[in-house]
């Protein structure tokens, strides 16, 4: 936590704001890992070997990449006190571009199958960055709240995708593309290894770079951030472009997994991504939370999801449980925060 301490001593020795923030983050982590321990213990009691076997645990790791990428995109937006509701639409639209390229015979003839895959990847990721950047421009330059912006662009991107495809799915990707998810490093899927590296790097970078600190500062106190003279607008735009890029990557992984793409694929991830970000201690009002915890929360939720599937719950039952959990976590975080603030106030009063 030393990285957030200013390099020079603060003029007054008491800094309850910063102290409170650190404690809240720490307590949110305690809540997260406490819940994780309880949930895993419950699953172990109820399902035992039916859940805790090598095949199932590896399948959990295989299933998380797109979910984790959506959650990471959501979490980055939440650091700034924003939200990105367009992630699923960005993923669908960019994956549709990729699917068009890979299944277009003339492009495949001209570039060869591997060339077409490379072109599709570049176009999809490029398109997703542009879509994210568009969000960022509307938010930062025009001052539209992230919620309205991404609601609007969600309609826009979904509309563009369904207009272009007429609502029909595109199928038949080359096997060289769909096989990416099959690659394994020992028992562990390569996709998960890449994901873990990405999370470690992203978490480290966003806590230590000026860019990341700008995002946290903006999320914590907009007005103060404006008066620092930091390039706030640029940082916000880059952060939404990053969210777009992550969503685009998630779209490609969904395309490889389902071997087809259609408007609306993956829309259940939206509620789950928000749930994961909140569970991981990202404050929806901005400025708090660590990205590495998002990966832990994703893994926890995927374990629960698998357990539900083993139990045979319907999708609506799952949706209800996710919604209920989200409400409970937010209420829990509220109480945690209140306890921290009260104890800090009391300590400050005692100190005079």
């Amino acid at each position: 936590m030393a990285d957030t301490t200013p390099s020079h001593p603060a003029p007054t020795s008491k800094r309850p704001g910063l102290q409170a923030r650190l404690n809240e983050e720490f307590l949110a982590e305690v809540v997260l890992y406490g819940i994780a321990a309880i949930v895993l213990a419950l699953i172990a009691l109820r399902l035992g070997g039916a859940f805790f076997n090598a095949t199932n645990l590896v399948s959990v790791l295989e299933q998380v990449p797109e979910f984790a990428l959506f959650s990471l995109a959501m979490a980055i937006a939440m650091i700034t006190g924003g939200i990105d509701l367009s992630v699923i639409a960005v993923a669908d639209l960019s994956a549709i571009f990729a699917a068009y390229i890979m299944t277009n015979p003339s492009i495949v003839d001209a570039l060869g199958p591997d060339g077409a895959i490379a072109l599709a990847t570049v176009v999809a990721l490029g398109a997703s960055v542009l879509m994210g950047l568009f969000n960022g421009i509307i938010i930062a330059r025009f001052g539209v709240p992230a919620l309205v912006t991404t609601l609007g662009t969600m309609l826009l991107y979904f509309g563009l995708a369904s207009g272009l495809t007429g609502g029909v799915g595109i199928t038949g990707m080359p096997s060289a593309f769909t096989d990416i998810l099959m690659l394994k490093l020992g028992p562990i899927p390569v996709s998960f290894c890449g994901l873990a590296v990405l999370f470690v790097l992203a978490s480290f970078y966003i806590r230590n770079s000026l860019f990341g600190k700008t995002l946290y500062l903006y999320g914590d106190n907009k007005v103060a951030a404006l008066f620092t003279g930091l390039p706030i607008n640029r940082a916000i735009m880059i952060s939404y472009a990053l969210s777009g890029l992550l969503a685009g990557a998630a779209g490609l992984i969904m395309l490889a997994r389902f071997n087809s793409m259609k408007v609306g694929f993956g829309d259940t991830f939206l509620l789950q991504a928000i749930l994961v970000a909140v569970l991981a201690g990202m404050d929806p009002y901005g400025g708090r939370g660590r990205l590495l915890n998002v990966l832990a929360a994703v893994l926890l939720l995927q374990c629960v999801e698998n357990a539900f599937t083993i139990e045979g719950l319907s999708p609506y039952a799952k949706k209800m449980i996710w919604g209920g959990l989200l409400l409970i976590f937010m209420a829990l975080n509220f109480f945690v925060r209140r306890i921290v603030r009260r104890s800090l106030t009391r300590a400050a009063l005692r100190a005079g």
């Binding site: 330059r141 539209v144 609601l151 007429g166 949706k319 996710w322």
Partner: protein
């Protein structure tokens, strides 16, 4: 904080000098009034384009069609407007609508009561209850409203599908009073080969428009709602009871959701528990296009009606322009982003001039 005005200049400031017309249709130097005029111009231009494509579009029959297809969503959009004025948002309304409508229909069937009044009472009652729950938990835990109501949407759908085990109720099993509600007309005029009539939906539409306008502009609660949306801290310090406002606005939105649910199922003559949900964005887009800001404090009844009119026109007539209905969402999204960008950019410039850095 001190530079923040108690009311945004473009909020319809309560006072004796403003006429009713100003409140419904604010004008003169305010972003909101310009927005409304811009919106009216866009609708007019669009109608002209469509009329060029198919000359018989410009008729009373088209207007009646617009009212029949648009009134249910306009009613729920007015509920969302009231929530947005206070600076909140509600995305659980369609899940609430279908839950209320399904329970009302199923209860009518179970008790053998074939009465529209009974169904309306049940639907509006359940809708109100769900809305009150929203308002209460948002207040108690000071939660972000979007995430709360999004979670609520999942919970409501789950309750309907899992606990109540809802199955679709087809027209044959619907109470006849409900089926008639969807097809009744107030009066008929000759149109083309047959007759077309003004749907009975016009009555609840007019009532809700009048009621919402009255609530927002003529009651202390309406004033407090605008105040709470413009400047929450200032509103609380001047004695606004946040819990009361929350309960009223979310309860009102819930009641309108229940009414909308019943209207929609009687229009399509099918109570499908998995329908409706997913169209929330269209309603939110209408409210935003009508000039309401998610940051609260702005928005007018006239704006919502015009915004919904534009969206209903788009979805009714896109085919006549040679575009498939799949482009619908694209145009709605484009309109929403464009109008939000214009109005927020103006507000940003104005706030910078006023040295108000809160809303930049």
């Amino acid at each position: 904080m001190t530079t923040t005005p108690a009311f945004e200049p473009n909020a319809p400031t309560p006072g004796a000098s403003t006429s009713w017309r100003e409140r419904l249709w604010p004008r003169g130097g305010s972003g909101s009034g310009e927005n409304l005029r811009l919106l009216a111009l866009i609708i007019l231009a669009y109608v002209v384009i469509v009329t060029f494509q198919s000359p018989d579009f410009l008729s009373l029959a088209s207007l009646f069609d617009l009212i029949r297809t648009g009134s249910a969503l306009t009613i729920v959009a007015l509920g969302v407007l009231v929530v947005m004025v206070t600076g909140g948002i509600d995305v659980s309304f369609l899940a609430n609508a279908i839950l209320s409508a399904w329970i009302a229909t199923a209860l009518s069937n179970a008790l053998g009561i074939d009465s529209l009044a009974f169904a309306l009472t049940v639907a509006i009652g359940i809708g109100t209850f769900v809305g009150l729950v929203n308002g209460l938990i948002i207040y108690l835990f000071s939660l972000p409203t979007l995430i709360t109501t999004l979670a609520m949407q999942g919970v409501l759908q789950g309750v309907l599908m899992v606990f109540l085990g809802a199955r679709p109720i087809t027209a044959g099993f619907m109470p006849s009073s409900l089926r008639d509600f969807g097809t009744s007309v107030l009066f008929e005029i000759p149109a083309g080969p047959g007759f077309t009539g003004l749907s009975v939906f016009a009555i609840p539409l007019v009532i809700v428009i009048a009621l919402t306008w009255y609530l927002l502009n003529r009651t202390p609660i309406g004033r407090a709602s605008y105040a709470l949306g413009s400047n929450p801290l200032g509103a609380v310090r001047s004695g606004v009871e946040v819990l009361k406002i929350n309960l009223v606005v979310y309860g009102y939105a819930g009641a309108l959701a229940g009414l909308t649910g019943l209207m929609m199922v009687s229009e399509i003559r099918l109570v499908n528990p998995v329908s409706l949900v997913g169209n929330e964005l269209i309603v939110l887009a209408a409210v935003v296009i009508g000039g309401a800001k998610l940051t609260g404090g702005t928005g007018s009844v006239g704006g919502v009606v015009l915004g919904m009119a534009l969206i209903t026109l788009l979805s009714n007539t896109l085919v006549t322009l040679g575009l498939s209905a799949s482009w619908n969402r694209f145009f709605i999204g484009a309109a929403m982003v464009a109008i939000a960008a214009i109005s927020h950019y103006r507000a940003k410039q104005r706030n910078l001039k006023l040295l108000n850095f809160q809303d930049v």
